[in-house]
């Protein structure tokens, strides 16, 4: 005999409410703090009649077509019912009345007010008043005896009194309540109730129990209580038959007792646990209306009311075993039913959710219902795949389950962990299905909106970039509820109905033939749960725990089974990500598993169903890939997690969107994640979890923020920055290893940033005299940065540290050497993939470039700038609008190498950033620019920014010799494995250093390797090559140059080589001369980053220090 708890619905604004039925029980009448009285035909009444009676209504009573209300203007008003016309004022108080009630015949009204007075007024003649004085505090509640003899009242002074109406005197008084100063402070509303008809018993809510007092003796006869009641009882009401008593508590529990048996026969919990402050029993019984302090109205259906139910209740004990069987049967059936008839149909969804977006969509947080018995729970957990409905009447372990052990003994309450309702399948980036206007998907490609209102059932497809496709408008005849959108196609799906099978429809707009769409029916009884699109394929997960793959043109491909009910899927390029229920979660947690599959030529599973980490008591809210292809998930607590491929596919939290929310009920609805630039694109939703379709929401960008400790300190900040940079750089490794071209510029920029951060951290720990930490940091650094660190250490007179660091540097150098030897043979192939092996080796190749950049800043007129850089400088010189930068003394006449035309307005602040025109590359979708490259992209600039150095490799001394050279220079006797010529020239260069000591000379040497004859030749002839072929890229120029150089006569070539050899020394001198100027320049340049300066000035010292060693 379970009773059904109907979903709540909003009736009034937040605040105290009251409820009653009309005489026939046709309408529910509620009042609230918004000053309205609403008349509801039924709970589903969308347009209740509303009567405004005042500013605030405290209590409402209804009898014989008269509606009395206690209003905030200190009056008791009458309105006609159901018309709602004002019918005069019944009585007045000096402050507002708190409770007003009719007697059973409807002839009298009793009201209790905050001015300590109770009044009894005849409805027909309001001059006939009786005033009861005697309470010492505001009156909480009044109740008129059915025989009109007595009146009971409760007050904030802690007393419950019974008055004789005739004599207006107290006949009994009990000090049983807690005292309080005012109604607003009172723990309980303490609504009293006389037993109907006979009036034999008076029910008084006292603390956690209900006490019953006998009319004749005014003594306490029994107490009703239940273990479930954890908070004070607020309201009690008798059933019209007088056999049952219902109570509502502050904690939101609703209980019904059989008074005679003192047996609690019904336990329900308010779906959100709000305080129940009004209850009313339907005149015919069987139904209880209740309201809460949040202004919501709820209904309990099927409450026992007739004597027959009592019989069955009593008989229950005898039939105990039998009932257990029944219970199982019943539940099993239901489970099956749900499995079969797929219960996700939107109609069945509770109406509440619409208003309730703010709250959790799934009642995942906490089990709202009172799960009565172990058996019941067990039964549920055995059936995890079954998606439970909110609206389905849940077995409540009603009286049938329990043997009636003793009169007032309640049945045992299971207090262990409660299983969580598994969250439903959803499409990432969609708003709930029951909304009339909803986003079916919002991703980086575009928006699919679904309309399902009276006039229209349609789907709008809109692309962010209209270059992909124009917007589409489709009529939604099939009733699609799921959608995904990619650059190639729109995939739509609907669930099956009884007649129609579940369908998948694909609009393949990028198709080049005339048939742009295809439809596939799923086998009967199988429903689409979620779907996704990848590059050239589509995947659909179904209710049969299966994933079906299709090609984008409609060819059926692999199918495979999932270990649990699917939650969502996401596709990107060749990757397919599937999240499913791994099992039953407990206490609000979800137990989700995740699989990541590669669907390329080499199909494989990357993540094999590992648990997906979520915050406590949260569910998955978004799942997908970053634009760069890294899996990313967001839970309902707003925590964004990203897969860390270099950390064994662990999930790293990268952001908490709730941190940037202004108020508690605000949320960010994520629509995309980008790693380069680091952007979390989301839509701020004020006071809701989902954005409305109109007005069209605007996208905001949130930064990422790893939850590192002490990010207020400089150290924590830099650590966070460093690891964020490392994490967000992982995708380069992944992309290049899976054969995509990557933005090597962005990568080297990131690497450079990391090294800079390391150096800053190093400097910081140096300052704090934490030398051990310094060494730890140095271990992460690349080799060349370690040399800087050594210099820094020695400059700040930490010889011990410098010593250790130099040992470390040697180690690193030998490591590099070993690796390079390994590397030599397999040509370039392994380069790129090697780059990502470990963070500490990651950017060693970057080092020369880095130094090169610094050098460029310090010596803008340096001859050795490579072509690209010099063009940049030239741009600077020519640019009349430039903001920063210094005027180069000698504009290089070299023609532009990369861009055909140069924008004269392009402002390039610092020389460094200028060399990256794609500073913030457009990354709507990296797939845009990702094209499968036939050969590995390694030769294209895994080393240098301009992607030039590797091309030179076959001719010029290799970049690695540069690193070698630095090594030689700092540990003088080491490494003679390299060409003699090299080391000699290096040595020559080192020698003059201590004398005049050009500060950065040591630093520069790395980059100043002697030029080959070809390079010199090329420098001279570049112009002519470019003149002939203006659209040549740097690489092409070199190739062409090589061709031409070969055609030269042997003599000429020798000549060039000679020149190359004799080149270095004169230049050296020149640089010394310029030294002074440059220094001044650097000092005067305020815009320079701080880091450079100390290094620059420190170089002198350090070079000196090293020499001494």
């Amino acid at each position: 005999m379970p009773c059904e708890r109907k979903p709540m619905r909003y009736g009034h604004s937040e605040g105290h409410t009251d409820v009653c039925f009309d005489d026939e029980g046709k309408c529910v009448v509620t009042c609230g703090s918004d000053g309205d009285v609403r008349i509801w035909e039924s709970l589903d009444d969308d347009d209740p009649k509303s009567i405004n009676v005042g500013e605030k209504v405290y209590s409402v009573g209804l009898k014989n077509g008269k509606l009395v209300t206690a209003v905030s203007n200190n009056t008791i008003q009458i309105h006609t019912f159901p018309e709602g016309d004002p019918d005069g004022i019944l009585t007045r108080f000096t402050t507002n009345a708190n409770h007003v009630t009719f007697n059973s015949s409807g002839s009298r009204v009793a009201a209790g007010s905050s001015d300590f007075i109770v009044k009894i007024v005849e409805v027909v003649d309001s001059s006939q008043q009786k005033t009861l004085r005697g309470h010492d505090a505001p009156i909480l509640s009044v109740a008129l005896d059915p025989s009109d003899e007595f009146l009971a009242s409760s007050s904030c002074d802690g007393s419950v009194a019974v008055w004789s109406i005739e004599s207006q005197t107290q006949v009994a008084q009990w000090q049983i309540l807690q005292k309080s100063s005012d109604v607003s402070n009172a723990k309980s509303l303490c609504r009293l109730a006389w037993q109907p008809r006979s009036g034999k018993l008076l029910a008084v809510p006292v603390d956690l129990t209900i006490q019953l007092y006998d009319r004749n003796t005014w003594t306490h006869v029994s107490t009703l209580s239940d273990d479930l009641i954890s908070q004070v009882v607020n309201v009690v009401v008798w059933s019209p038959c007088g056999k049952f008593l219902a109570a509502g508590t502050v904690g939101g529990n609703l209980l019904v007792w059989d008074v005679e048996a003192k047996l609690c026969i019904e336990r329900q919990k308010h779906e959100k646990g709000f305080t129940v402050c009004g209850m009313a029993w339907h005149p015919s019984g069987g139904r209880i209306a209740y309201t809460d302090t949040e202004g919501c109205l709820g209904l309990l259906e099927g409450v026992p009311s007739s004597s027959s139910t009592v019989q069955s209740t009593k008989a229950a004990a005898a039939k105990e075993t039998h009932d257990y069987d029944d219970l199982f049967d019943e539940d099993d059936d239901r489970g099956l039913d749900e499995g079969m008839s797929d219960s996700r149909s939107p109609v069945k969804k509770p109406i509440m959710e619409e208003d309730d977006d703010d709250d959790d969509l799934m009642p995942a947080t906490g089990r709202p219902r009172n799960r009565g018995s172990f058996l019941d729970d067990d039964d549920n957990s055995q059936d995890p795949s079954c998606v439970k409905l909110d609206g389905v009447p849940e077995e409540d372990g009603s009286s049938a389950i329990l043997p009636a052990v003793g009169p007032a003994v309640s049945r045992p309450v299971y207090e262990g962990p409660m299983p969580t309702q598994p969250q439903r399948a959803f499409q990432p980036g969609s708003t709930p299905v029951h909304l009339m206007h909803r986003f079916m998907v919002w991703n980086s490609v575009g928006i699919v909106r679904g309309y399902n209102d009276d006039q229209d059932n349609a789907i709008d497809v809109e692309f962010h970039d209209t270059a992909i496709h124009h917007a589409m408008h489709l009529t939604n005849t099939l009733g699609h509820t799921m959608a995904d959108l990619s650059q190639e196609a729109v995939l739509l799906a609907c669930e099956g109905t009884e007649e129609l099978a579940s369908k998948i429809q694909c609009l393949h707009f990028s198709c080049w033939d005339t048939h742009k769409d295809w439809i596939v029916d799923l086998p009967k009884g199988e429903d689409v749960r979620t779907l996704c699109l990848g590059q050239g394929w589509a995947a659909v997960a179904t209710s049969a725990l299966m994933v079906r793959l299709f090609s984008v043109g409609g060819v059926q491909k692999e199918i495979f089974s999932l270990p649990g009910a699917v939650v969502c899927m996401a596709g990107h390029g060749e990757q397919l990500l599937i999240v499913y229920h791994r099992g039953t979660g407990f206490d609000g947690d979800q137990a989700l598993g995740i699989q990541l599959l590669q669907l390329g030529h080499k199909r494989r599973q990357v993540i094999h169903g590992e648990p997906l980490p979520l915050s406590r008591k949260s569910y998955l809210a978004w799942m997908g890939f970053t634009a760069e292809g890294t899996p990313c998930c967001i839970d309902s607590e707003g925590v964004v997690r990203m897969l860390n491929r270099t950390l064994g596919n662990m999930w790293t939290p990268v952001c908490n969107t709730r941190d940037s929310c202004k108020s508690k009920s605000d949320h960010y609805w994520v629509v995309g994640v980008h790693e380069n630039p680091q952007q979390l694109r989301c839509i701020p939703c004020k006071g809701a979890r989902y954005p409305p379709t109109l007005p069209r929401p605007a996208v905001a960008v949130l930064p990422f923020n790893l939850p590192y400790c002490q990010t207020t300190t400089e150290k924590g900040q830099m650590e966070e920055q460093y690891w964020r940079s490392v994490l967000f750089q992982n995708h380069y490794g992944f992309l290049s290893s899976s054969g995509y071209e990557i933005d090597s510029e962005g990568q080297s920029r990131a690497e450079k940033e990391q090294q800079e951060l390391l150096m800053k951290m190093f400097a910081l720990s140096c300052k704090l005299e934490r030398e051990f930490r310094c060494v730890e940091l140095a271990e992460i650094m690349t080799h060349s940065v370690v040399t800087l660190a050594i210099r820094y250490a020695s400059r700040s007179r930490r010889m011990a540290l410098a010593q250790r660091l130099s040992e470390l540097a040697l180690e690193k150098a030998s490591q590099i050497q070993e690796e390079e030897q390994e590397e030599e043979e397999p040509a370039y192939q392994s380069h790129s993939s090697r780059e990502y092996r470990g963070s500490n080796q990651m950017s060693r190749r970057l080092a020369p470039v880095e130094n090169g950049c610094e050098e460029e800043e310090e010596y803008p007129q340096e001859e050795q700038m490579d072509a690209e850089e010099s063009t940049e400088t030239r741009k600077l010189s020519l640019n009349p609008f430039k903001k920063g930068g210094k005027s180069p003394e000698r504009p290089s006449p070299k023609p532009m190498s990369r861009e055909g035309r140069v924008n004269p307005f392009k402002v390039s602040g610092a020389g460094k950033s200028s060399s990256s025109p794609a500073g913030q590359p457009r990354t709507t979708n990296v797939l845009d620019s990702m094209t499968m490259s036939n050969r590995k992209p390694a030769p294209l600039g895994s080393t240098s920014k301009q992607g030039k150095a590797p091309v030179l490799k076959p001719l010029a001394p290799k970049p690695k010799s540069k690193t070698q050279a630095t090594l030689l220079q700092m540990s003088a006797s080491k490494g003679n494995s390299k060409k003699l010529e090299d080391s000699q020239s290096e040595a020559e260069k080192v020698k003059p250093a201590p004398a005049a000591t050009p500060p950065a000379s040591a630093e520069n040497i790395e980059n100043r390797k002697p030029k080959t004859g070809f390079q010199l030749w090329l420098e001279e002839n570049r112009k002519s090559i470019l003149a002939d072929n203006p659209d040549f890229e740097e690489m092409d120029v070199i190739k062409e140059g090589m061709g031409r150089f070969r055609t030269l006569s042997a003599e000429e070539r020798l000549n060039w080589t000679e020149r190359a050899k004799g080149d270095s020394d004169p230049k050296k001198r020149k640089r010394e001369d310029e030294e002074g100027q440059v220094d001044e320049q650097t000092e005067s340049d305020e815009g320079r980053t701080k880091k450079k300066k100390p290094l620059d000035t420190s170089a002198k010292l350090s070079a000196f220090a090293f020499n001494k060693e």
Binding site: H464, A467, A700, F905
Partner: protein, 182 residues
């Protein structure tokens, strides 16, 4: 200075647009703009926004103050006070006109906004006239008017200055050397 010129100046104001195309940063005399990512809001000058809008290359996100609630509040404030209230944008009139004329479809409640801004404008200009009137009638030597926008100043400037000049001439011609009551 005619209104067209003021409007020209107003076109330099930045406004957010949501482009539906993709373009790298563009480098202009006034500064760099972009990069443009489809679907991602970006700040551009009004002239560019309108140009793109006319070519159906973007949607314009109305400035924050272009909202009925906020404007109503300003209107009330403006009506209540005798002085000029601070206005959210120095070019509110011009921007409203430009944006509403060219992209009313992107601005919710465009008509209401138009009316509200017109109301504010009327109130302010009325105040301006009133103060000009009292300025002249009381023969003040100077007056301070805060929070005026360029367009507002421009509406009365030429007229007021000319009339002051004429009055000065008239006065000095009529009764040289004698004071006169007006």
């Amino acid at each position: 200075m005619d209104p067209a010129e003021v409007e020209f100046l107003a076109e330099k104001e930045m406004v957010k647009i949501i482009p539906n195309f993709s373009l790298d940063k563009i480098y202009l005399i006034g500064g760099d703009l972009g990069p443009f990512n489809p679907g991602l809001p970006v700040e551009v000058p009004v002239w560019l926004a309108l140009n793109l809008k006319q070519r159906q290359k973007c949607r314009i996100v109305p400035p924050e103050w272009m909202d009925t609630d906020k404007l109503e509040e300003i209107r009330e404030q403006e009506r209540k006070l005798d002085t000029f209230t601070p206005i959210p944008s120095l070019y509110y009139m011009e921007l409203t006109k430009l944006l509403l004329n060219h992209s009313a479809d992107n601005i919710p409640k465009a008509d209401e906004i138009r009316t509200l801004v017109k109301d504010i404008w009327d109130t302010r200009v009325a105040k301006l006239r009133l103060s000009a009137d009292s300025f002249i009638s009381q023969q003040e030597a100077h007056a301070q008017l805060d929070n005026l926008t360029l367009m507002e100043i421009n509406t009365t400037r030429s007229f007021l200055l000319d009339s002051l000049n004429y009055m000065y001439k008239l006065r000095s011609n009529l009764q040289p050397g004698r004071s006169q009551d007006y």
